[in-house]
Subunit: 188 residues, 4 copies
């Protein structure tokens, strides 16, 4: 296939974000035909439909919507906040879904990696994130799932993923994700 | 019981928000011993843990956290965005849950009303909202549930709830919610 | 593509099951290259891992597992029981997932139609059913979703779907489902 | 308070069920005023509304419904099957919820412990189980949550919970559960 542009969406704004560390490791395993770009979601004002109804969306919305529309697929790497999706990531989904009839996520392949400093792999975020994807028509990779637990213990002091078994696990996930992007892209 | 202060949280920022209309109808059914105050959640920056780690949370966070800490219970009235919780409401939950160990939602009673212009009563928002409440230890009213469908047809041109059967349904919900606030408050 | 065999799984055992009525309407819209067969799930004993560990699964398990393994895709038509999946349908998923390493659902396309006599389209069943599909690696159609509300009013006295707008809605769903089966099948 | 009768519901039928081991450890921490009884859910035929409509429910349904109606609270201890509730446990919920208007779970306190041989604490079962509880009006303990991971490593060869930190964790959970039963019972 021709090269595909994959947007990376990190669900945490923290400077030392564990999810960003894992995202950086993930893209290091991308095959040559998958290009990646980290998409900034931190400067999008909380979604308010008045913006669109008034025909004056914030400039950051327009930049974001164009950036997403230009992508061929999505990789979401996210922590869990209070057993669900961080607001910053849900906001990005909502901004990209509107105005009505202009859902920029529509029909493209996606994958989810959830990341936790604790023991439960951010399962709650991982699966809550899947429900809006049904409505947004993002075609999600089902298997393998990717839950990263106790993430702090897997990184070195520079935030690089050094745990070998997690590196293998992540590489396998990216292999399946790449194949899934290919499957969905070829079908269109 | 002595008077209880109930915070009303509306999950939409739109000027003509249907959820706010329903919230206003709901509080009109409050018994005398329940005071209410609408809590502003629209000006809270997207949660970033650096704010708290640096010891410099936005002023709006501090105002919000104090306001919530002062409440005796919560009523959430929300639309569904893309089959889940609007980011603005999830953000409010996240801001109130932090910094770690200072969860201002902890141990108080809550209720949920979900509101939709369509036919499915915003079920997806209603139930996704329940999952963070487990972690936040908000003690939720289970029955009756409150799903409002086809909301535009229930309001007059001023946004007032005029549909009689929905008014009865909402009054019954508020009666049960009031009893629940009493149960939980008496136990503490 | 060559003909594909689609299994129809109805989540209710009731003689006059509304879900079975909707399933029968759905298959009437199948294109020629989709064959269908209703798969019996009502006589599967509640899953107990001892059956497999002892090497003595009930005969009905073996029949069921072979039947599912022989399919090219799945259509689930289900009511909601207590805001979630009926046990009879969850049991079928569990039986087909085992013994470990022999998941007969693996890698095939699927679709979900949820059916309710009430107003909320059995949303809770529809979306709870999606979570096991992640683990089972059933590749689910995302859009359109299919929620059927107030089903009794859509059928005639013989249980036939006669409501025209629902017939169109269901036909559109089956068109998308057929296309999805084709996409996934071609990729394998 | 006077003594309360708590039903223990184990979501696995396996002879060597890990969940039953954890349930046995849990009841060993019950205070004197909580009596417990393990409720058999393994011989309930898959729910079929015809049984009730015909006025001929299986004898096991009648025994079960009377047993649950006689309880003052519920403790559910369950594995996860395919990221959701085992069918055997969902079936018990469904049987107890019917016939319409005779929900024997209604208005009583409950708690959930989820148990996994893997690393994610059966989060998917724990939270999926909470959704029917809303409809059934079981008043659930929110905090602490109880997720038991890697359960095989916590038990001795007789299936007794010997891991000290898990024993403490479970005892704390039971203390909070007991207090919750007291709160809800006193309110009625």
């Amino acid at each position: 296939m021709s090269n595909k542009k994959i947007g990376i969406f990190v669900g945490s704004l923290r400077r030392g974000s564990f999810s960003r560390s894992i995202a950086q490791a993930a893209v290091s395993f991308f095959p040559a035909e998958l290009e990646f770009r980290f998409i900034n979601i931190g400067d999008l004002p909380l979604y308010n439909q008045d913006f669109d109804d008034d025909g004056k969306p914030p400039a950051s919305y327009e930049v974001f919507r164009h950036a997403v529309a230009d992508l061929d697929g999505f990789l979401f790497v996210t922590p869990e906040y209070n057993r669900s999706i961080p607001a910053v990531l849900k906001n990005a989904l909502d901004v990209g879904s509107r105005p009505y009839g202009h859902n920029v996520w529509n029909g493209k392949p996606g994958g989810i990696i959830s990341v936790s400093p604790g023991g439960l792999g951010a399962f709650g975020a991982n699966h809550h994130l899947r429900q809006p994807m049904v409505f947004l028509n993002v075609l999600l990779l089902q298997q393998p799932e990717a839950y990263i637990s106790k993430v702090a213990s897997l990184l070195n002091e520079k935030g690089e993923l050094v745990d070998e078994s997690t590196r293998t696990y992540l590489k396998n996930f990216i292999d399946a994700f790449s194949e899934w992007v290919r499957t969905i892209s070829d079908a269109h």
